[in-house]
């Protein structure tokens, strides 16, 4: 007798638990306001990334096409993957001395793991995170970027 | 059991164990021949009960290969580090402990695969990560692979 009671109790509990589950999905079915899908390419205009979003490493330039990079190469040694190459050039200073400045700051985006050590280690805060995240290209060589813009120069008050 | 008494206890079990200074754990270097016996007793004796092998690492110290066993007792909460050394870099072998601590089976396979330390009586000593027929053991200091290892 007891087992028969258990048999029906089983059926009851099973049906009850299944209905509880169906209640959840049923509720979401009838509440389209809960939909969380983002319509990505359409919402490109309104899509705002967070301020600290790590899209890529950039070198901010001011309106006079000046950056803060001295070309010291600390970021190059800090990078664990070798995704930064700093090429230096020598220029003649007015006082006759030769001074090393940055020629090209090459950033291999394809090798970057976004650890942020270059930005953290930079003594003159020349590097920063960019918000751009649509990095897909057809040719891998396009991922090698030169961060300092052509013709740019260093901001005057940066001391090494 | 505190460190001092545990030290006495281990030295009582294996008199020729070599004590090694370490701030964190009590560390002993055990002769390879005695390792299996010692492990059995470490696990079974009531006041020791080292039933949890929480780490097994192979280390290449260039002069010798070393297997490091990190042990803990879940009842007495004391820890112990044992080391076994073998100087033969080609056929160097130590006794397996995977019949005592089952987790050692995969850890020993890993150590064999990457470090080239053989384990006697291991039930299934094959390469674990690398494919059969791979030449060399990558975690060794003298391993060269110009294709896959890129020096920056």
């Amino acid at each position: 007798m007891n087992s028969i009671f258990e048999y029906f109790a089983d059926i009851f509990h099973t049906v009850k638990s299944l209905l509880t589950g169906m209640k959840v999905t049923g509720r979401y079915f009838f509440s389209p306001g809960e939909i969380v899908t983002q319509q990505y390419p359409e919402n490109r205009k309104t899509l705002k990334m967070y301020d600290r979003f790590k899209g890529e490493v950039i070198m901010p330039h001011n309106e006079h096409n000046e950056h803060r990079c001295t070309g010291c190469g600390i970021c190059e040694t800090a990078c664990p993957n070798g995704s930064i190459e700093v090429l230096q050039a020598k220029i003649d200073m007015p006082d006759g001395k030769k001074k090393r400045i940055i020629d090209k700051h090459i950033y291999h985006l394809g090798m970057c793991t976004f650890c942020g050590l270059c930005i953290k280690s930079c003594p003159s805060d020349a590097l920063a995170w960019g918000q751009e995240f649509e990095h897909a290209v057809f040719d891998r060589s396009k991922l090698n970027k030169t961060l300092n813009q052509p013709g740019s120069s260093i901001i005057k008050d940066i001391v090494e | 059991m505190d460190k001092a008494t545990l030290k006495e206890r281990i030295l009582g079990l294996v008199p020729d164990a070599e004590f090694q200074e370490n701030k964190q754990f009590l560390t002993f270097i055990i002769p390879p021949a005695k390792m299996h016996d010692l492990s059995l007793r470490l696990k079974s004796e009531v006041d020791l009960q080292f039933d949890y092998l929480f780490c097994l690492s192979g280390v290449d110290m260039v002069k010798f290969l070393e297997v490091v066993y990190h042990l803990e007792s879940t009842t007495h909460k004391h820890q112990l580090v044992l080391k076994v050394r073998t100087e033969d870099r080609v056929n160097g072998a130590v006794d397996t402990v995977c019949d005592i601590w089952r987790t050692a089976e995969l850890h020993e396979r890993e150590a064999y695969d990457l470090m080239g330390i053989r384990f006697n009586n291991h039930p299934d000593l094959r390469r674990f990560f690398l494919e059969e027929g791979w030449v060399g053991h990558p975690l060794r200091k003298d391993y060269v692979d110009e294709v896959n290892i890129v020096e920056l």
């Binding site: 969380v36 | 690492s57 280390v59 995969l106 890993e110």
Partner: protein, 375 residues
């Protein structure tokens, strides 16, 4: 005279055959290959084959400086990236005997627990999918998104953060961090009821998991099965309790311990841990002390020669970092005792004699992350 033909008598009971679950299989959560010996639908034994995504992180560590190692540990168990980072940071701090500011400890603890919740959410939805309930997957990911948004706001990335550095943090938390975390806890306490209604209470799921895939306490200890999977068997292995780090010694939380050791118990462990993690966060979130977000560290970190071992409780079990330093700025040998590696070793033992559908459920309940096994 009649010819007597001797037909080979085959015993069906004995005939086994092998199928491969993985490397490209919907249930393996990564590229793990399990060669399963089957007899009918019953699993006789299985052999794991790993290494499909082995990256040699331990070898790479030998040429990286300590701050550079952090970004490699992210990529081991990518679902508990922060906790992996924490292990290496603690190792370096303890070796150098650096006292990190209280603020850092609080923030790290909160973020570890958030990371644990996020990881368990992903486990929950993939477990549901393994059981055949696809809807679970979307609910789990929907709620995990909220945590990832908090992470992204504070550290800029969603999965691989590299947020901890030896001595502190990369940057201070976002000003909205506390507010958002509190909002999330409020939100998730509501949504976790859906989880219970949809899957936990479901009779089909309970029938499929209760009494299936039993692992005894002795075996759990012997196999080194830690984390929720080990605690389901009654193996008290919570590193947060036994070897406290961060501010775990200051918060009040229970170590969730099970007794039955079956698949359902392993499931319940993680469900309860999510509640417990929320409790921990609630205790800490309003009390983050003011202060610096990093301790003063030298420019080049050199660990004194010697051996160091650091254990933390990652979301899947005990993560150990074993480091041998020869006094240089790079470690001589770095070994990660990854929780999934040990948990995987018990899979063969657990799954003998179960059906192939149960194997998937057991795999889901052990919750292995393959990059952590392969390292």
């Amino acid at each position: 005279m009649k010819e007597v033909i001797n037909l080979p008598v085959k015993n069906i009971e004995e005939e086994e055959y092998h199928i491969n679950m993985g490397p490209q299989h919907p249930s393996t959560h990564g590229v793990l290959r399990l060669v399963v010996s089957l007899q009918g639908e019953i699993v006789k034994s299985l052999k794991p084959h790993c290494g499909y995504i082995h990256r040699g992180i331990e070898k790479m560590c030998e040429k990286d400086t300590y701050p550079q190692i952090i970004h490699l540990t992210d990529r081991m168990d990518y679902l508990s990236a922060h906790i992996n980072n924490h292990a290496v940071c603690l190792l370096v701090e303890n070796a150098l005997e650096v006292e990190v500011p209280e603020r850092v400890k609080y923030i790290r603890t909160i973020i570890d627990e958030l990371n644990r919740i996020a990881s368990h959410q992903l486990w929950w939805c993939s477990f549901g999918m393994d059981m055949g309930g696809l809807t679970c997957y979307f609910y789990g990911l929907r709620d995990r998104e909220k945590i990832l948004d908090i992470f992204e706001e504070s550290f800029g990335s969603r999965l691989l953060h590299s947020y901890y550095t030896p001595g502190g943090l990369m940057m201070d938390i976002h000003p909205d961090f506390q507010k958002n975390v509190k909002a999330f806890i409020k939100y998730f306490r509501k949504k976790i009821k859906d989880y219970d209604d949809l899957l936990t209470g479901n009779m089909i799921m309970q029938l499929r998991t209760k009494g299936v895939g039993f692992l005894s306490k002795e075996d759990a200890i012997s196999y080194g099965v830690t984390g929720p999977s080990g605690r389901a068997s009654g193996f008290s292995c919570d590193v947060r309790k036994h070897h406290p780090y961060g501010v775990y010694d200051k918060v009040d939380f229970k170590e969730i311990l099970g007794t039955k050791g079956d698949t359902f118990e392993r499931y319940m462990m993680r469900m309860n841990e999510m509640h417990e993690s929320m409790r921990i966060i609630e205790q800490l979130i309003d009390n983050i002390p003011a202060g610096d977000y990093t301790a003063k560290m030298k420019a080049v970190l050199k660990l004194p020669a010697g051996e160091y071992y650091q254990r933390v409780e990652a979301s899947r079990g005990e993560l150990g970092v074993y480091c041998i330093s020869d006094g240089n700025k790079t470690p001589y040998r770095m070994k990660f005792r990854s929780p999934n590696f040990s948990n995987l070793s018990a899979l063969d033992h657990i799954s003998r004699g179960v059906k192939i559908a149960d194997l998937v459920a057991i795999g889901g309940s052990l919750d292995y992350v393959i990059p952590d096994i392969d390292r």
